[in-house]
Symmetry: C2
Subunit: 493 residues, 2 copies
């Protein structure tokens, strides 16, 4: 009911819309910073941020790049420009957004074009001013700036520190505060603005339609790599994505039990055979905004009974979570709800025996779903804001895999991605553990060894009353089979 | 006459073929090193090389990567493995190729899969042995190694230094020579082996077919970005390319006069209009091997008379060069031949006046073709080996843009990419220069302002008698129009 359309491309690449979105974001960020900034500081303070660099994208010693430049997420959030070697300033007193560009060396224009002038940047990105990097000190002096707030912190998801460090020669003449900003900007990014929500809705729609396209064109004899090709081609053609948000996971058959399959060492290179259950975890990136969707389906278009047991277990978990989500709900409770649902289905399917309550007590679910239920998504696919002082990383089995432990609130954009896998190392460990193996029908489980697994991943926006599911892919087993029966997609490129 | 076929995908992803190709390369490299190594060193020396690292591909502070890992070219050439954080050894006495892998930390197997065992690597890449990185010192001790030859040098094309530096804790106990290896390996890479030639032939065929596909599907109203999407999708679907060899240049209309259009700051984002002349410079990368092809065509399928003047000038230059190329020919002479041909056509077309000999003396051609005629291609798109002590970078106008000044020899793989552009800054400079403007019919030239330009880029292999042109795209203006008249491509995905 959502037609494949180049209108989505136009929306996602619409510079007027983007500019209005940046305006909304900046208003929110200025408000947030000013509400926490020490009284008296606003008049003589700027925020100074650095974007990514050319150097970081250089492809070894060659003159080419690893891939086309991707801006650092915080910088893109505030300044919008996807070019390397930039700085950005927020003038707190006057609420002005200033881009700082390096002057383009003479003679480069025939290679890369004339440098855009200030008016071009200002209009396109809704900036108040553009200055050259060699003028930054005099600009700050003119503004009587004494304090520079920089962005520095530890990403609570990856545990990596900020790598974009702003510098200019006279910087040590200023009082620099590198601790204040990070939690504030992180909290801003955690909750999407109305226009970000509008943007993510269409971004997720295109990424969904790409999944449907691949689903309909997958067949035995193809390489997993060819599904990646179709996916990325679709996301770029219909949405303008120059990157996928993360390396495509195109797992067929047994490979679906490798949760992050598809990396360079497992490069989606198996040839698909009849009977394979596919697990495709792929999402396009549109102007920096990530999507993250997983579909599982039988490559020949028809689930076996055993495949359906696993599929329906995961689908029920996803449905239960989607129905239960709303502001005030604790995310770890959703993880437990998914685990419980999956165990109930595996019990009904004959793989398990005994009481689900007892299984939950010994964390049996982690044998089958050894990852978190979902995570925040935004300008990073595993977005910032997942953990705070109030909501730390958890340690209990199962929920320790979560990338956020927060209470849901409107404007959070999360994945809901329950899964059920048959991972030899985990099954062997469970079968050797008397606290776990008492629940397992080992003979039945044997039938599922090597079958891979199922993951179903939706991207959903928390609203005032529940969620809006932005992911538009067939989800019931019946719908998957029905969609796959339609092999031709009329509007495809 | 070369049908679009998944057989090419199978060939390009054929691990048996790749292994045999690596065998051929290693024999040649061992021979080359041993022929130059000081007598007596072979018995107690290894070559130690480092591949690219995970860290270099990290996407800022997130837990994802900028793009899927791409191995460093020298490392891939010798060891074949496209995974990060590896070392490689050549045991010179026994002519053995040894891969050094870091042990995979426990617990990662559910995320990325079990670590491949030694036998898997050995078989797949034709390696003699695989050892863990923490054993490297004892392995060298057992082999009674005293000398370590590492790869370090300056890339003569980019002028950047080697960035993959091998290290292990006990390395300072050995005598390290970091100067010997670079020129030898560079010279090896400059000349392709028979199996590399076979591989590049098919790689270039697929990248050619992708161009034809895009040519047939380009139309007004599309974004340049959508041509990039189709190109990359095709190269991956029909060849397995996970990367393009370099950022796609999808220039429509005036943008064709920006030679390296398509970068992040000019991100292929113009909407194409009727009458545009397109310039698409795009090439897939297949298992590390680059291709580099440019096609120019009128988006509506029919050249105007003015477009044909420019197109035929460039086509004639390419044809003249392709016919003249053979071993013994000096590459700078080919650059001059292309320049002369273009000037002759611009003269006949009425843009210029006077004597072409005189124009050549004042380097008028650089106003219209301000780049080199072509460059070596291999594991880098701008490959190593272009300059040596004997064949340095040139300084004379025109040929100073060349990335190689060498004499052609069989096994060299080069681009032949003459071009003719209407670049405002260069035209303005020429019109203001009395030594140049005396040749220019300024009134006629006006008609061409803003038209962009034409580049035609073939990838050709120098053979014993001439060249084999691996690029299979329509090249005469008539053939381009005929191919574009066939809008449907039956075998397309
Ligand atoms: Mn996810
Ligand atoms: Mn080229």
């Amino acid at each position: 009911n959502d037609p494949v359309s180049l209108e989505n491309f136009k929306f996602l690449q619409d510079v007027d819309f983007m500019r209005s979105m940046f305006g909304e974001i900046r208003t929110k960020v200025f408000d947030a910073i000013l509400s926490k900034m020490p009284k008296g500081d606003a008049g003589n303070s700027v925020v100074l941020m650095a974007g990514g660099t050319t150097k970081d994208f250089e492809y070894y010693d060659s003159d080419t790049e690893k891939c086309v430049f991707r801006q650092e997420a915080f910088f893109r959030y505030l300044f919008g420009v996807n070019e390397p070697d930039l700085l950005g300033l927020l003038d707190m007193a006057r609420r002005r957004v200033i881009l700082v560009v390096p002057p383009q060396p003479a003679g480069l224009e025939k290679w890369i074009g004339e440098q855009h002038d200030a008016a071009w940047y200002e209009k396109r990105f809704g900036l108040d001013s553009v200055v050259f990097s060699n003028d930054i000190n005099s600009v700050l002096q003119d503004m009587k700036i004494q304090n520079i707030y920089t962005l520095f912190g530890t990403n609570s998801d990856s545990r990596n520190e900020t790598r974009t460090i702003p510098k200019f020669p006279e910087m040590d003449k200023y009082t620099v505060n590198n601790a204040f900003l990070y939690p504030i900007l992180t909290e801003c990014r955690t909750f999407k603005t109305p226009k970000e929500i509008e943007y993510l809705r269409i971004a997720t729609l295109v990424s969904s339609q790409a999944h449907v396209y691949v689903m309909r064109h997958a067949k035995e004899g193809l390489s997993e790599r060819q599904l990646e090709a179709m996916y990325f081609g679709f996301c770029e053609y219909f949405g303008g994505a120059r990157h996928v948000a993360y390396t495509c996971i195109c797992a067929s058959g047994p490979h679906a039990s490798i949760l992050h399959y598809g990396h360079a060492g497992r490069p989606n290179d198996r040839f698909i055979v009849d009977g394979d259950l596919m697990l495709l975890d792929m999402g396009g990136e549109y102007n920096g905004y990530a999507t993250d969707i997983t579909c599982s389906f039988p490559v020949n278009g028809t689930f076996t009974d055993d495949q359906k047991i696993v599929y329906n277990a995961v689908r029920a978990a996803q449905e239960n979570v989607n129905k239960a989500m709303k502001p005030g709900v604790m995310w770890p409770d959703m993880h437990r709800l998914a685990e419980r649902t999956i165990l109930e289905h595996l019990l009904a399917g004959g793989l398990l025996k005994g009481s689900v309550d007892d299984m939950m007590k010994v964390f049996l679910a982690s044998t089958f779903m050894p990852h978190g239920l979902g995570h925040l998504v935004g300008l990073n696919v595993h977005d910032v804001g997942g953990f705070t002082e109030q909501y730390p990383r958890l340690t209990e089995e199962g929920v320790k895999y979560l990338r956020t432990s927060r209470e849901l609130r409107a404007g959070m954009f999360l994945t809901v991605e329950p899964g059920c896998y048959f991972i030899d190392s985990l099954l062997d460990a469970a079968l050797a553990d008397p606290t776990l193996n008492c629940f397992i029908n080992a003979d039945v489980l044997k039938r599922f060894r090597g079958a891979g697994g199922v993951r179903l991943e939706d991207d959903v926006m928390v609203t005032e009353n529940g969620i809006e599911n932005f992911t538009k892919v067939p989800r019931t087993a019946e719908d998957v089979e029905a969609v796959m029966a339609v092999k031709a997609l009329s509007a495809a490129a």
